[in-house]
Assembly symmetry: C2
Homo-oligomer: 333 residues x 2
DNA sequence: TGCGGCAACTAGAACGTTCTAGAGTCGGCC
DNA sequence: GGCCGACTCTAGAACGTTCTAGTTGCCGCA
């Protein structure tokens, strides 16, 4: 009740149960070395005193912390889904997660340094923006897994989506619907932009449509998509693939305001399967990353590194899948 | 480089600098008791050895952890915004934040228990769903601040939005546009639902429109809004206030699919100012909670409790504001 | 000369765990 | 009867900090 009153410790439980501190520790950890009878009794006392282990002391002593640090971005709805997957994977394997967020006013370096002080055993970074060299240095200190970003340095493990393949899926889908004049709005200087753009180009070539290939400058945000849409309206294609869902919504809005029917006149494919893309209102056909698999692999990889079997660097590239919704349809005759 | 190599500790720095561990500690904490010269020298060595303080050991020893535990929900885009504000507020006041997420498969109790083990000094819960009695018990162990939820128990501090007032703003806005036949789609069993519903009723009465007051069963999700819309189409009002933004989008979609123009035929007001409500495509008029103020107050309150001045229980109710966008317009003639 | 006081520094005990090493106790087997 | 092994349990040292209570050395002042 009083704010100042100390928390109950192993020593308190030990005293109340009339045994040694070490024994209580054994019982709490579910380690061998205690009789069933005492085990029962100690647990009872612990429950009565409302004992909660002190993870700081625990980790401090036992050296290896079963603790994974995760850096995520608050403005990324997609990261929330990933967190869910990471929690699942970590729990299955007996690890804890500790989170550190990147916000508009809290940068990645700050987020990472917080985790370092918490002495987590490894870092999982969601779409890190810091230079690859910096990632490499970091990886010299503890295992680092980068998600959704390609990193060449061999110290850093990578789990990401096969973005080229994602664009192939999108283009294949559109071609199957009879489209030939398919444009692409790219992500500008954003990280995965180059690979998606290249994937689009390859896909077009594979279908013998390089003559129609057309890339418009875009970006990360909704307004970037809107700008690209205005540019496209001069000589509109029958279909557009967009760097991400956010850009797609901007594009969709401008198209519709200019009287173009979607998908009647123009079909649109986004990227990410963001939660809002599922809204009935937007109902966007989009490329979905396999969140569950990615999360599982990232955690597994981090743990392998922690366990110290000197594993080879590996980049894990996960195939995405296409989610067909209401913004794509047959090409106009 | 090798995975197993220990991290550098105070002792390492002390040895390298030729001083005692205690002195290095003093320097690192920026505490008085070291000459400028040694201070400089020690810092230099620390930097060279890439020393990072071990927050676990630090907190373990110094008892009071300047650490606030925050429980948030991943499926709530609104919580992300709040996190941003909380980080800002905590940093201003010299506290750290440690996050624990509630996911579809990780419940609130698990999230909270994780934070308890981390021995944070206080808990900030975003829209907690657990029973009030449980919150009260928890508050017996450490300061607890509940956000966006009314709690009667006096041990628990509360920071929330004046939801009744939010509904007044919405109704006032619609009435000023000439609407009289204004319906409300509520949040079903969701927490803040009752207060918003009551706020709507009061506002209607205040305008002498109780004859038009009509509450339709809704819920938290998009499909709940869609269902409510279908129900409303039998005898459509000229305006609707909805429990939250998600429900609004479902409602909007059904209305438009049935050929109703928004805001031409029907105006719609949401609640939350979710990030997607700002999308040009949705462009929803909505009630925005004052995130920055709420975050600042929550952190301040937690710290007051920690600092132990036995403060009186206080419920802080923050006025929201109306964000007028494109889904509201003059009532049809 | 002696002493008080201050600034700079240090030794060693905490904090709450886990872990290693060993001390009892008991039953069984030669 | 003595010894071994298995099973319980315990004492005490870690872990990397912070904090308390010093110990120096030096200056100024009576």
């Amino acid at each position: 009740m009083t704010v100042g009153d100390r928390r109950t410790t192993l020593a308190d439980v030990a005293a109340a149960a009339g045994v040694s501190v070490a024994l209580v520790s054994i019982v709490m950890r579910d380690a061998p070395g205690a009789s069933a009878a005492t085990r029962e009794r100690v647990l009872e006392v612990a429950r009565r005193l409302d004992y909660q282990p002190d993870s700081r002391a625990r980790l401090l002593r036992s050296g290896q912390s079963r603790l994974l640090g995760v850096v995520f971005g608050v403005q990324h709805p997609f990261h929330d889904d990933l967190l869910t997957g990471l929690y699942d994977a970590a729990e299955r394997i007996g690890y804890e997660l500790t989170l550190s967020a990147v916000t508009p006013r809290r940068d990645e370096r700050t987020a990472i340094s917080g985790l370092l002080q918490d002495r987590c055993a490894a870092l999982v970074l969601l779409g890190p923006q810091i230079p690859a060299a910096e990632l490499a240095t970091l990886a010299g200190r503890l295992p680092v897994v980068a998600m959704m970003r390609a990193v060449r340095q061999r110290q850093v493990d990578v789990v990401r989506t096969d973005d080229a393949r994602g664009m192939h899926l999108a283009v294949d889908h559109l071609v199957a619907l009879g489209h030939r004049n398919i444009a692409h709005v790219d992500g500008g200087r954003w990280l995965a932009s180059a690979e998606r753009r290249q994937g689009y180009r390859d896909a077009m070539r594979r279908h013998g449509l390089e003559a129609y290939a057309k890339v418009v400058n875009g970006g990360f945000g909704e307004e970037d998509g809107a700008r690209a849409a205005r540019e496209l309206l001069d000589d509109p294609p029958t279909a557009v693939t967009v760097f991400n869902d956010l850009g797609s919504t901007g594009l969709l809005d401008v198209l519709r305001r200019h009287g173009r029917a979607v998908p009647g006149d123009i079909s649109v494919v986004g990227y990410d399967d963001s939660s809002f893309s599922r809204l009935a209102h937007i109902d966007l056909t989009t490329v979905a990353q396999d969140i569950e698999t990615m999360a599982t692999l990232a955690v597994a990889r981090a743990v392998e590194r922690i366990d110290g079997t000197r594993v080879a660097h590996r980049e894990m590239v996960i195939p995405p899948r296409l989610v067909v919704r209401g913004t794509t349809g047959p090409a106009p005759a």
